[in-house]
Amino acid sequence: MPTVRQVTVTLLALASLALGACSATSEDSGGGPAEPETEGITLYSGRIAAAIGGAVDIYEEAADRDVQVRFAETGDLAATLVEEGSNSPADVFFAQEPGAIGAVAEQGLLADLPQGILDRVPPQFRDPEGRWVGITGRARTLAYGDDTERSELPDSPLELTDSRWRSRVGWAPVTDSLQQYVTALRLEYGDEVARDWVEGMIANDAVDYPNNVAVRDAIANGEIDVGLLNHYYVAQAIAAEGPEYPVHVYFPPKGLGSLLLLTSAGVLESSDRKGEAFDFIRSLLAPESQRYFTASSKEYPLARGVEPDPSLSVPLDEIPVPRGDLNDIAEVQATIELLQDAGAL
């Protein structure tokens, strides 16, 4: 049995190790001694390394700059940026969901992007005030399992409140993407239609999941027949598990059948490396990076003139772009209130 002395000595040794590593880290952030590349921008990424790593590599190679990336949940990073305010070490924020970058922009923390960057994507894929720009598009749509015939599927998600879909549909009301779909419904058809749909889904025993992956997996294991989710969750699973994967994507042709959601990036007003930060965003929108995004994550490239991955059978311009600004804080709040009143949250 170890004595207190032994334990103390061991702990102190480990502590000094920890402190050593600690000071080494602060040296790293100071000068980057052994790095062949020059220290570059700091990126706060709400998208994990597997989704953006290749694009960061492309920039690092071309610019001969080392990008420091902090990975965390998009919402947590947005909250962090707000608390950091003008003291933020971040130069660029790459958001998984548009609501988060909208909230950071609302706080006046994002710099205006040069027109040259904004013009790389069609106007519907960028902030009207020019503070952030869309990088890739993710389609909000339906997925179905092997147990369901394609011909049986509805023409619009709005029909999922029909009693023949009772207990067969899964959704994830806590996710940004579902909330954006509801916001889009409100803006397209008015609050009444959106509320009826949400209440109808609940009355129809739509099954509630914590995230899109859980919805997909529930379709895969037969828990539910149809789910509202983003197309690439299915595309990625097919890429990983092979074409026999029992879940398929379906873009309903009518009534806001699907919706294009953006991942987006902006530059922090507090950055003292704005030039490099703009270069980084230019690189994200360059054809090489855009092809990387669509090939690896099965997302739609937004920069003009880049073709989507062949597996994305529905062309980008056939997927409805939300009418109005889904990131508008007031709209987001109104949607959350609607979902809460209806009992979905």
């Binding site: 920890a18 989704a51 990336v69 990975f71 947590d76 947005a78 909250a79 609501g99 914590p210 828990e223």
Partner: protein, 543 residues
């Protein structure tokens, strides 16, 4: 002890300041008091941050806090916390007794196995339970039945949180049982009491502090948990708070909910101190001169083994089996090399050990203050010390973002800052065990040593620390186990590029690769097992 005030060694008196009632009759030495104030202030940072945000936008924050929906959430949160705490005690009490005071075969192995569930992050545990027991899960496949009762909602959250938090009660119960003075029980037995009566009248009263601290930790864990309740789809205050950050980015509303959590925490602390005060323990001698006697189980051996086996099956074997099954599925093929995993493990160890050392030191300061120099001030400091544990990780993280970027930018997002955050977050885990073991050491022993001419520091080092080392080690281990699995603060406050096992689990699960998270989860279990095994060694008794 109160009666000994006059003869006790005391710190410098502060005459004429009118602070006597705050500092108590026995003045703590100034350095100890100063250290206690520093620890209390550090532990208050998250709550202070909430106050600042709430005060900055008072109307909307109060509106959220006093909303009818919030009242319902409070009821649900309290209901879950009460149910889980009661269950955790109901599990920990018999298991603690069996593994410390009986001749149960392989006690040490059982102790390690039955403490390990603590290491499984609740989000992983909940996901595993859904995978195992949920619709079309492994169990349903195994049984070949059409449908199982739903595990979502209150039942699922209660089950998962109970199974992964009862060790928080088990550890202090065990460390108290180990240090019980067997002479008391012998005396009771000699006077003709049955073993059951002896347990009720002699052992139970001494166990109340351990049950109170363990139960408090479980209750605080439940009110601040996000992982299990979100996956089990049971709405609590913390779930709502995350939702508010995640979907509306409304820091005022989130802070309003955080303030509600602070109130719930104060309620839990008040209940806890009521229980502890009502059941004040006897302080008797320096502790057992000989190890306590092991009760022979006799024909109860088999039911006892079966019970422990069933618990280990549900809380450890089942989750680990799913993890092993996933890790062999090969979806993660190529994603995890040995060097990469070793690097992650080293980083996890470093942060965990750092937080454990500082957490145990800080807790020792608070425990000595409140245990040896009781006063309104020291009691207040000890209570404040608990603030960090009742709040979700994201609030602790944002509080330190707020203060560090303004007051200590050089430390922001360094390992020092991360360890500091984890210490603030998990310090209460060490206060309980250390305080409970200190309560079992009579101050008279220390006073006797002082009487022999030893200085206070010498007495503390040579008398007090050895007697409470079980508590110190248990406290440090608890901080370690939680620090290595912490997520939001680690993601936000670690140095850039500093990856741990927990961040790797997050990376894989957030991309939907739950299977790929199996390997880092298993490594997390592997690095947590040795400290738990070391701790369990102290439970051995002679037959």
């Amino acid at each position: 002890m109160e009666g000994l005030g006059g003869t006790a060694p005391s710190g410098p008196r502060v005459p004429g300041l009118g602070l006597g009632w705050v500092l108590g009759r026995r003045r703590p030495p100034a350095p100890l008091l100063a250290a206690g104030i520093v620890v209390g202030a550090a532990a208050m940072l998250p709550a202070a941050y909430l106050l600042i945000v709430v005060a900055g936008d008072l109307g909307p924050a109060l509106e959220v806090a006093f909303d009818a929906d919030t009242a319902l959430l409070v009821a649900r949160t309290l209901g879950l916390a009460a149910a889980v705490t009661a269950t955790a005690i109901a599990i920990a009490l018999p298991v603690g007794w069996l593994t410390v005071r009986t001749d149960l075969p392989a006690r040490r192995l059982w102790t390690t196995l039955l403490t390990l569930p603590l290491v499984i992050p609740s989000y992983v545990g909940a996901y595993l339970f859904v995978a195992a027991l949920g619709p079309n899960g492994l169990l349903q496949d195994l049984l070949g039945v059409e449908q199982l009762p739903s595990i979502y909602g209150f039942a699922g959250a209660w089950l998962v949180l109970s199974l992964f938090t009862y060790p928080l009660v088990l550890l202090p119960v065990r460390s108290t049982l180990r240090r019980l003075d067997p002479q008391l029980e012998d005396a009771a037995r000699a006077m003709g009491r049955t073993p059951t009566e002896t347990f009720r009248s002699v052992v139970m009263p001494q166990l109340w502090p351990a049950l109170a601290v363990g139960g408090l930790l479980v209750a605080l864990y439940v009110i601040s948990d996000f992982g299990a309740v979100s996956i089990m789809r049971f709405d609590t205050i913390t779930n709502e708070l995350y939702l508010t950050y995640k979907s509306s980015f409304d820091r005022t509303a989130a802070a309003g909910l955080g303030a509600v959590l602070v109130v719930l925490m104060l309620l839990a602390l008040w209940l806890n101190s009521r229980i502890r005060n009502a059941r004040a323990t006897h302080r008797l001698g320096p502790g057992p001169a000989r190890p306590p006697r092991a009760y022979p189980l006799g024909r109860w051996r088999w039911p006892a083994l079966a019970g422990c086996g069933l618990l280990a099956l549900a809380a450890l074997v089942l989750p680990v089996a799913v993890l092993v099954y996933w890790s062999t599925k090969g979806i993660s093929a190529g994603s995890t090399t040995i060097e990469f995993a070793a690097g992650l493990a080293a980083n996890s160890l470093m942060t965990g050990v750092g937080a454990a050392i500082f957490g145990a030191l800080a807790a020792l300061v608070l425990a000595v203050l409140v245990g040896r120099f009781p006063s309104p001030l020291s009691r207040a400091l000890e209570r404040l010390g608990h603030a960090g544990f009742a709040l979700p990780g994201i609030v602790v993280a944002l509080a330190l973002v707020f203060f560090a970027t303004r007051a200590a930018p050089a430390l922001y997002q360094t390992l020092t800052m991360l360890i500091f955050a984890l210490t603030v977050h998990y310090l209460p885990l060490a206060i309980g065990p250390i305080g409970a073991s200190l309560a079992q050491v009579s101050p008279r022993v220390e006073e006797a040593a002082r009487g022999l001419g030893r200085g206070p520091i010498e007495v503390f080092r040579s008398i007090t620390v050895p007697l409470v080392r079980g508590g110190i080690l248990a406290g440090a281990a608890l901080v370690f186990l939680h620090a290595v699995k912490e997520l939001p603060a680690t993601l936000i406050l670690a140095p850039i590029g500093f990856e741990t096992l927990a961040t790797e689990i997050w990376t894989q699960t957030s991309f939907g690769f739950y299977e790929a998270s199996a390997i880092p989860s298993l490594i997390l279990l592997a690095i947590a097992a040795p400290p738990l095994y070391l701790l369990s060694e102290r439970g051995t008794v002679t037959a």
